[in-house]
Symmetry: D2
């Protein structure tokens, strides 16, 4: 686990006076060379070094070599291809913390997209868990498959083309995560796929979708709804001027959590049945 070996991913941070480190993620190949606009980097100078070491490029720039996080592999390597907008780490954490997805969970994902969340989930559920991830677009699925092949050491997932005639084929799963443009069309299917009391999670990027999703979720026998939005601010940590950054990414989506109920509580149902859709 300690020194860099062939086949490892390495993250290089340029050490600049401004400390706004540019970064690259590479896969190490014996005898390999990577060209950057900070000069060529020879892989053999990294292989055998500890993470946290410093190497030089041929143009005398200094780099810190580190092990990349999953997110840095996604963002900074050329290995991960973007088929769609991805879900970001600030939401990854909220999704699992509020739905209790953990080591051993069985999860269905609708909307594989580029596979970024799939990668995260597969690392969380581990060998005892499993991820089935569906997408309607075969091209997108191809890209996601490549991304997972390249970046995941796990074998705990299956990427599947979504066939509307067959729907979700799994049963008794712990959680269903939906991130598609019309989430309401698959809510009933999610009910059948889930174990009793299992979690439905819907990722909802616009106000427009929110009401319709909520209504559909309620009328299909889900209970204990919670809808949240999370935002993070990054803090500028220069010791003489500590403060939040002026500008931050402060919106991504509303996230709905709810649980499959065995019987639809009629009272709730009636109360809501006549709501405008």
């Amino acid at each position: 686990l300690s020194v860099f070996r062939e086949g490892d991913f390495v993250e290089l941070l340029v050490i600049e006076p401004e400390r706004r480190s540019h970064r690259f993620v590479l896969k190490l190949v014996k005898g390999g060379k990577t060209s950057t606009h900070y000069g060529d980097i020879y892989h053999d100078e990294i292989i055998g070094k500890f993470p946290g070491s410093i190497v030089k490029s041929k143009t005398e720039y200094h780099f810190l070599v580190l092990r990349p996080t999953l997110y840095s592999e996604i963002k900074n390597s050329r290995v991960f291809r973007f088929a769609t907008q991805i879900i970001y780490p600030r939401d990854w954490g909220l999704i699992i913390a509020f739905s209790d997805i953990h080591n051993g969970s069985k999860v269905v994902e609708l909307g594989t997209g580029s596979g970024a969340l799939t990668l995260f989930l597969s690392r969380i559920v581990g060998d005892k868990g499993y991820i089935w991830s569906y997408d309607v677009d075969p091209k997108r699925l191809e890209i996601a498959k490549e991304n997972l092949n390249n970046l995941s050491p796990y074998k705990n997932y299956t990427l599947k083309l979504y066939d509307p005639n067959r729907g979700i084929e799994e049963r008794d799963v712990d959680a269903v995560f939906i991130d598609i443009p019309e989430p309401w069309v698959v809510v009933k299917e999610a009910w059948y796929a889930l174990s009793h009391g299992g979690f439905l999670i819907v990722y909802i990027p616009t106000f427009n979708q929110l009401k319709r999703v909520v209504n559909e979720v309620i009328r299909n026998g889900f209970v204990d709804l919670k809808v949240i939005e999370g935002f993070t601010r990054e803090i500028q940590w220069k010791p003489y001027a500590i403060r939040p950054h002026i500008e931050s990414y402060v919106f991504s989506a509303y996230i709905l959590f709810s649980k499959k109920s065995y019987f639809i509580p009629r009272k709730l149902f009636e109360e809501l049945r006549d709501q405008p859709k």
Copy 2:
């Protein structure tokens, strides 16, 4: 996994017209009875039912029976005892998503507190991972031990009394998480405990501590600092009046992430050495 059995935790939600469900978490005992101000609940009426079913109390209140999330067990059962303020799910997720803690990770925690985060981490790292959690207060540690015994099905953790003469005894761990009032005193120890490139995470509840932590982290050879704060708003989802709740919990702490560097980059060090502490 499906129907409720003796020994299971069950979460009961009162079904009220207002839909502001009160909730209780119980451990099911054959022949057991629990008194609430919604009437007595007989455990035998729950045992054998599916999650998502409805049961009645003796005073004709209806309850949904569900499997509690970890957080609901912590908050709504009388099984979890609070020795301290705990860290909440909105931060649990950020902590692991930005530090890459996942299935199999080895983590040291300083400041066990009541053990809420320990419980969460033990579910994430699973059987292949391990958590060593230290606290200076033997009474607190006793409470945390009880909490973990009662709520964790895992055996992947050790709670230890912190002895300043011995410090952190582990080596080569993937992450060290610090949540103590004077985090700067253990930064150097964290460096020794971590694997090269491993993550130091510090939970920092006030502005006052932030500058001192940042300086100490930098001067001890950590790199690639990131400090964030996260907040979540909860959305009121009544279909005819969807909007964020007027009031929300919008602060808990600043969270610092950084990585152990093998050599301290001298340039950075010099730049910072003369900063006021």
Copy 3:
């Protein structure tokens, strides 16, 4: 302007060890006495004192005497009566800063409510400006009139009962502010009331209303739309533990700003005409 005189409002802050000052707002009357659960307060002990002085109640509590802000008069005196939820200072400022309402502006308000915003606006536009404020509910209007009589030293406003057959009677005003449950029904009228280029401001408390308002505003020839939401966090300033308060009021409404256009830009219009309403 300096010492307290009969007829002045005074704000009393209880000086407690906890520094969580309770506060009362009174109108000073010679020989007056006010009972609080911190003891009786004799007005004559305040008359003639400077703001910032300290007085004692008969039960030996100490009070700071200050001039109340407008908002404290609204919240802490028994003089202001609440007919409705009011708009709060955190939004007062946004409303005028983004719509350029200032000394001398002429403003129509739809939805007087309790008159809190009317009070604020009348202090901003001053003697050279004017506020016409409409409400459909005669009882509410009565309460608002009393509130303005009691708290405003200005004569620059008229409160009017809204008659749907007559609509807004003013013309060429600088701004129209709408805060009613169905804001879309008066958008066309607002257009006629405004001067060319004048500001339409709509206060929108739910997601549900937002889309319909935006569509109506666009199709009625308003341009340069901007929709914002503002939130404030309060900082706990205890010198040894400075940090944001854990809980804050972080939602009130979305605020839309737009300007009356002389000709409806057909391109924009056509682009939007077929949008679902």
Copy 4:
């Protein structure tokens, strides 16, 4: 007030399919011509038109002509020169709403900077109020004077060079606003300048300054402290995809509000005297 006349400021919005209007602010001159990269604009085609009209450039681009807000004059005309970072409208409103600055208020500003806030305040306090604004830097003051000459129709302000030997010369003002790098050095002076009960407002861009300001304010006999931070999110209002913008300006500064007390409440003072500075 209605049609555009020579000498008026006019704001031109480019009407593009993308509706991301670029905008320019011009001062109208008879026979004038302004070159933009959307083509030349002849002022005579605007003079005599109503705000909200449409004009064409020589290259067939369409522009909406509107009266600019104060902020648009600052940002989009070439008339306002930036000597420093300015304070933005999202804070202008908070400053006056929480300190009760209104028509007729007398205000001292320390730190004129480019004069943006001075411009805003002069429009709020009107002819019955007055602004005295100090800066230590004669060059900056020169720029601010020009900015105010060009953009303010009021004569209710004086810009002054700050002389540390003389300090603030005014007495009995309603509010003192401080926005300088070391605000603690002028807190005592602010006390002398203020009327009893008057408002001290401090604009504090970093965590580092916050503690020291708070301590200094308390020890100099100010009471009823409140520290806030405000943030606004802008909403993307496209009817088919309404949601907050992904990225927003969500930090500018902490703003402290407090009131001059006649006697320093000894209890509070003692409690705080021994705090580390």
